[in-house]
């Protein structure tokens, strides 16, 4: 398709500049940890985890008051970022918090679940504490209750 370059020719100036610029930004992002997607800082499992791990748990509450964990992994692909959404929940404005709860409630209802409210618990799990082949249940504190388009945050 394109004629081959003469075997001994030098790479053209545009190619040298292109490669230099591309590798420069690639290396810069890697060294500095910048995220300029698709360029990335390559932070893959970069943090050292501790045995005691903070987290969040979202549950739906039916009219009888029964709690059921939100089955995030069975929800559509757009809901799979729940870990990050939960982690950033406290920083969201109240209307955004209500919209997030609403989105989860509607996804659960679409699967036939009954949702009167959504509760969000802050958890702490000691993964070194094993019960058989599973970790011991986390300790948890209720942080938010979403119902009727409002979000309550018990003090």
């Amino acid at each position: 398709m394109q004629p081959a370059a003469p075997p001994q020719a030098r790479a053209p100036r545009w190619a040298r500049r292109f490669v230099a610029a591309y590798l420069a930004v690639f290396v810069l992002c890697g060294l500095a940890g910048f995220e300029a997607w698709p360029l990335t800082g390559w932070r893959l499992f970069a943090d050292a985890r501790q045995a005691r791990q903070p987290g969040w748990q979202a549950v739906t509450v039916d009219r009888a008051g029964r709690e059921t964990p939100v089955p995030f992994r069975e929800l559509p692909a757009g809901h799979q970022g729940f870990v990050q959404v939960l982690r950033g929940f406290p920083e969201l404005a109240a209307d955004r918090q209500a919209a997030v709860c609403q989105a989860w409630a509607e996804a659960v209802r679409a699967r036939g679940g009954e949702v009167a409210a959504v509760r969000l618990y802050q958890t702490e799990t000691d993964v070194s504490h094993r019960v058989g082949r599973r970790g011991a249940p986390p300790t948890r504190v209720l942080r938010y209750t979403c119902h009727d388009g409002k979000v309550d945050a018990p003090s």
Binding site: A4, P7, R16, G30, W37, A46, Q53, A77, Q102, T125
Partner: protein
Amino acid sequence: MRRAEAWLFAPGDPRRLAVLRIGLCGLLAVRLATGPYAELASQPAALFRPISFLRVLERMPPRGLVVAVQALAVAAAVLAAAGLWARVTLPLAWAAALPLVAMTSSLGKVVHNDVLLLLCLVPLLPAPTSAVWAVRPGGRKAPPRTPPSPGVAFGWPVHTAMVVVAGAYFFSGLAKLLHAGPAWVTSGNLRWVLYASSDQQPAPNPYALFVADRPLLAHLLAAATLAVELGFPLVLWRPRLAWLFLPAAVALHAGIGLAMRLDYSVMAATAVLVMVDWPAVADRLQPAADTTQPTRKEPSR
């Protein structure tokens, strides 16, 4: 620095560049054809966590647009893999793939699985990738002719992609050192990661628990992971080391897949496609079978 530059712009085998075009574009086509982009388009706006250029949007792009871009991207990637109008179809496939792949990273976390593929395709965008092993317009195979000799135009795209692969692993290791330090190996880090991952899976994961239950094994695997990642660029200096580092990196991805159910298959496939000199392997396997292609090893530095 001069040696590195000389290697980067040294003449290369047009067949190796063609293998990259076929392999990486084929991988991109499969990835784009099977990705959850149409499903992501129906994500509620409240859950949208846009990355990079998608920040200009309030929510995921509309489904109709996403399906159209996906069809365009797959078609362009297939044509590029075949070498048809690759000067146009390859950049078109890459540009159309970019917003689709960005959607998968707009859930709150960067998905690195596809990033290496996209980054390795960048040096191919302006390169003469279809000088050999390309279908001509009209479905004809390339007319018989003397295949191009190794040339500078075929070297730098391959070498740049190799630097990107080596850099990806090196920077992954460096990030661990910078953010966690030696504790990434010496603490219980890997055990806690694996216990937590197993606990989040529907059933206890036997592979994760096998390692996590054995502190010494966990430390050894953590040290090996760091060694493989930080040492990967040695492959650029001593290509034979690819026989050590490449299987180790693939094993690392496979181990993560088994123990944590995280998919890094595209990243592993990209690394294998880029780092192996496939024409040299083929020549070595069939030294006398192919009389139309003279045996040509890519010049070393």
